[in-house]
Symmetry: C2
């Protein structure tokens, strides 16, 4: 499987889902008559904000840790993350009884640091830049022998993230479209794989802010593009694609739609006010895309994966 | 039934629930491992914030309108409310195809005025005091022949509110305690009736802010007490009990617990952060009571009715 870089089969994917199932929630799907009217279509929200630790990343972290050998597990896992993946690795490692070493930028929201500690992760703080993060993680790897887990560019993680889409299609096989936000590309790649396995007609679409439209440009140019600036409220979507997920996205994702910052905030507010649930700005990007291009989605059954709900309540955009 | 002031039987209550069921949501119950740890007990949250129009009041409004004669229905209904009951009457009336006249204080949150309009309610604004509200409602009653609906001191409304507790006990018959916030007393009275009908051992507890502890004092003195000031964030709980609900509360509620304002805000924040759901300050009062007196609730299975989720996002206490 992922260990060799080979692509997973449908049977293996189904097995993987059953293996991680005891460690994750099967999240509910919510609907709102008023949001359907607002969007002039039928929208289904898969609520990964209700996932353990508050985001879909619990799926990928669990999947990656389950794939480790006993020897590897004994030495633990290490990652660097400013947010949800840090919490996911901490909690998944705790569930499976192994140590988790987490490198976090000193600028990470306090609520996320506290959550990592609650879940038993051992935090090492570093300067808020990617170089400092990588250096700190390598140092820990060398010292402890822990296995490094990448939040999005790891096939085992990608497969895990895709299990949300599998559940979604089991509950609502009639979906015409499935939309996820795209940042590092793990959720989008995993979703497109699952859609390919478990639906005949459903198409996968990615959504990202104009401010960090690297995935949009990558699909256009055929190679991984980067962002020079990352001035977006959707803090989970600032990263770029990787060599493991990009080939899947190129093969299976039909389109990337882009949205403006004010559209993200409005979509987030509508979801909060109408569904009465807490979602991250990154999660609102997919719904913002539907509101922006209503004609494109009219008459379709649109599935949106709400990626997470970990927000700093003292720092809201409303 | 309520028309004659006589108390409802269990059989009639069960029938009433089946009659309003097509017009309301059967709301989910949520749990959180982390909140259980925080409260050192087992807590079950019945999510009436996911009810139609975002609060339990949809139940009572529907119940009251269904009890009207055809003649009465033709002339419509009128109420005065600063918030949730206005929305509930508007939507329930719309569902049943009758006009709703809503008197709202000019100071009511914009989000609530907009919601009333969305649901088809015809708003008359008045000065933000109870006298102006009553005068305006009477004027409309006289002009249109509409039936006045009281948000909490109406037996048919009280019975409707109690259906949440009936569903709660159907899903979790093992509950030892059921806690609701108490403002006007409709939810608490209805809940205590349903608990009496559908559980042998469960007890009903009310929760309110120290700042508006009229229900606590009423139970002590044996007569309806009032609040001289209403300096609480729990804007749904500023009113006092009425002659219809107080006898029920006196008979069936075992205790009223009181909480401080900062405890309400902390409880609200914990619910938002951990359950990822939007709840009103009034809804957080019951959970605040559990956190305040942990010894009292230890080892119990505690059901909390989350009363609603209509919050003005531009005016949060965090």
């Amino acid at each position: 499987m992922s260990q060799t870089g080979q692509m997973i089969s449908k049977k293996e994917f189904t097995k993987l889902h059953s293996e991680i199932a005891p460690f994750i929630h099967r999240t509910p799907v919510m609907r709102s008559r008023l949001l359907d009217i607002e969007a002039q279509t039928q929208i289904y929200f898969k609520c990964e904000n209700f996932q353990k630790m508050g985001a879909f990343k619990m799926r990928g972290a669990t999947s990656a840790i389950l794939a480790l050998s006993d020897d590897q597990r004994a030495k633990g896992v290490v990652t660097h993350s400013s947010g949800n993946f840090a919490q996911a690795v901490s909690l998944a490692a705790k569930s499976l009884g192994i140590p988790a070493f987490i490198v976090m930028p000193s600028s990470a929201p306090q609520v996320k640091k506290e959550a990592v500690k609650t879940y038993g992760g051992q935090i090492t703080e570093c300067e808020p830049n990617i170089k400092a993060r990588e250096t700190a993680a390598k140092k820990i790897q060398k010292k402890t022998g822990a296995t490094f887990l990448h939040p999005s560019n790891d096939l085992q993680v990608i497969y895990g993230q895709g299990t949300a889409a599998k559940e979604f299609l089991e509950d609502f096989p009639e979906l015409d479209l499935m939309i996820t936000p795209v940042g590092g590309g793990g959720l989008l790649a995993g979703t497109s794989l699952a859609v390919d396995f478990y639906s005949k007609n459903c198409k996968t679409i990615g959504a990202e802010p104009f401010e960090v439209d690297d995935a949009y440009r990558s699909l256009k140019s055929g190679k991984i593009e980067f962002n020079e600036t990352t001035n977006t409220i959707a803090d989970g979507l600032k990263t770029h694609l990787g060599d493991k997920n990009f080939p899947i996205i190129k093969d299976k994702v039909s389109e990337i739609i882009r949205v403006k910052e004010d559209e993200i905030i409005l979509a987030m507010q509508l979801i909060w006010e109408r569904l009465k649930i807490i979602v991250e700005p990154s999660s609102a990007v997919a719904f913002a895309g539907v509101l922006r291009a209503k004609e494109k989605f009219r008459g379709k059954r649109v599935g949106i994966i709400i990626s997470g709900g970990n927000v700093d309540l003292r720092n809201l955009p409303f």
